[in-house]
Amino acid sequence: MKDKESKWQVELVEVTKIYKDTIAVNNCNIKIKAGEFFSLLGPSGCGKTTTLRIIAGLEEPDEGKVFLEGRDVTNVPAHRRNVNTVFQDYAIFPHMSVYDNVYFPLKMRKISKKKADPRIKRVLKLVNLEGFEKRYSSQVSGGQRQRVASARALVNEPRVLLLDEPLGALDFKLRVSMQKVLKDIQRNLNITFIYVTHDQTEAITMSDRIAVMSQGRIHQIGTPDEIYNNPATAFVASFIGEMNFLEGLVASISSSDTVEVSVSNKNILCKNNDQKISLNDGVLVSIRPEKVHVNPLQSLKNVIEAEISRIVFKGNNFEVTAKFDKCEVRSLVDYKVWDKSQKVGNRVKIGWNPEDVQVFPISMKKDMIQYE
C-alpha cells in the first residue's frame, strides 16, 4: 500500500500496454511532482498518447499500476478521476455552444447553471474567450477551439491537466502565442500539466521535466538542460536538436571523465557518460554543431584538421560542413565570428571540448531517428 502523503502527484509503475501485436507502452515508470510541467516527447507512434490516455483512465494498462496523489487508480474509470484532458483535435461537442461545452463538466457534477455561471465566466476570461459564449465550434477559429477545449478541461479545477498535442493543429505564430498562454495558466493556477508533444522545441521551452519516448520505451527523464546536454541514449541525442554522429572504436578509457575514440585514425576525446563500453568497442560519438568550433581562437583540448565541404548561410549563422577522411562534421558559426573569406576546399582546424562530446555503444544506432 502507498501512503496517502505520497510526494508524487502522478505515478506510473511498470506500466505496459499491448495492442494486438504491438507494444504501445513498454514497462514505463514515471513520477510527476505536483505543479510540475511535465512533457512526454517522442516521434509519432512512440506511445506518448497511450501513456496519457492511461493516466486519464481512457485506456487500461495490461500491466502495472497508476497512482494519483498516492491513490491506486488503475481500475478507476475516467469519469471518476480528478484529471481532465485537452484532446488533440479538441473534441468540442458540436451540438453545444461554447458556454455549454464549458458547463458540461460542471453539469456532470450536478452543479446548477446558476451556480456554475461565475466559474464558467472566470475560466472563459482566463483563456480570453469572453463574448464567444453563444457560438458553436463550427463558428470559431482553430485557436479559439483550442481555448474552448482548455477552458472546458480547466473549469473543474483538476489537479492534473493532460494535454495531447494541444497546439499541433495550429500554425507557427499562433502556436508560439498559445504556448505562452498555456504556460501562464499552468503557473498561475499551479496545476500539474502533463503535455504530450512531438515538437522538441515546444517541450524544451515549456517543460520543467521531459520524458523522451520511443517505441513504447522511456529513454530518458530529465530537465530540458539534461536532455539536451546529457542525452542518455543515442536516440535522445538524435531526436533532440541537431547532432553530428561519427562512428569509431574505443581507443582508451584513460580516466574516469574522458574516453578516447578513434575515428578514421583521428582521436576524439569524449566525456565519459557512464555508458557500458570497453576497449575496442564500436561506438557512436555525438557532438552538437554549435559546440564545434572552426579555426578556434581559444585553445581546445581536441583539435583536428579538416577540409570545408559546404557553407550554408542560415541568417544569423553559417552552417559549415568540414570533412576529414570520410567523416563530415557540421558546425554552426555565428555570423559575426565567421571569416567570410573562407571557401569550400580550404583546410581548417575544427575543435571542441571533450565535455561537449557524448559517446554511445554502437548497438544504440538502430534506435536512432534515421534521416534520409
Binding site: 471518476r80 481532465n84 484532458t85 473534441a91 451540438h95 458540461f104 456532470m108 457534477r109 472546458r152 473543474n156
Partner: protein, 300 residues
Amino acid sequence: MKSMKELPNNKRGKKRVLFDKPRSYIMGIPIIFWLLIIIITPVILMLIMSFRQKVGYDISNILTLSNYLEILKKPSYVKILLRSFRIALIASTLAIFASYPLAYYISRKIRKGRHLLFMLIIAPLWISYLVRIIAWRAILGNKGLINSTLMALGLIKEPLSFLLYNQFAVAITLTYISIPFVFIPLYTALEKIPVNLIDAARDLGANEFHTFINVILPLCIPGLLTGFMLAFIISLGDYIIPMQLGGTGGMMLGNIIWSQFGFAFNWPLGAALGFILFSIAAVILAITQKFGSREGMLYE
C-alpha cells in the same frame, strides 16, 4: 455583367457564394429539367386532376373544389385519414424503438462482424415485399405461428382472433417493413459520431448513461429524424399491408385512393386524396428538415 451573386452573410459568419461561375447555371439545367419531368410535372398533373370532376364515365374539364369538399363532408374519409396518420405514427415510433438499440450496439459496441450484422438487418429488403407481408399472415393467423404455439403449450384453447385483420396487424407489419429504413440512417448517424467526443465526455465526468443522453443522443437526432420520416411516409401511403392484413377495420388512406382509381374510376377524387397525402408528407419532410439541420448540429 454580374457573374457572381453574393448572398448576405449567413449565421456561421462566412460569406456564401452562389454560382461562382456563370457556367454553373448551365450545369444546373439538366437537373432542373430532370426534376421537372419526374417530379414536378406529375404532381402538377395530379393537382389539376384533383380539381376536375367525374361526370358519368367522363371527367369534366371544369375546375372545382367539389372533391375536397366531398372528402371533408364525409366523416368516413376523415376518420380513415386520421387512422392512417395514427397507424403511421405508431409504426414509425415502434420502428425507431426497435432500430435504435440495434443501431447503437452494432455501430458502437461491436467491433468484429459489424458489416455482417448490418447486412443481416437490411437483408429483408432483398425479399419481395409481398412475400414478407404474406409471411406476417402466417405468423398472426388463426393457424399461424403464434396461435399454434400458444395452443400447443396449452395456454389458450381458441386461437386469438385479435392478431389478424385489424389495425394491430397493420401497425406491426408496417413497423417490420420500416425497420431497415430507420436502421440505415440511424446507424450512419451513430457511426459518424467521433470516438473522441465520447472520450471527452467520459474524461469530463460523464458516465455511460450521461454520455448517451448528453452527447450520443443529441448528435444522432438528424439520423433519428430521417429514419422517422422515411418510416412515416412509407407507412402513411401503404395500401398493400392494410389490404392483406387490415380487414375492414384496418383500412387506410392508400386503400381508398387505390379503390378510387381501380374500381370507382373516380380519378379526380383519388387525385384529391392523393394530394392530401402528398401535402402531409411534404409538411412532415419540412418539419424534419428544419429540426434535422439545427445550428451547430452538423459537422462542417
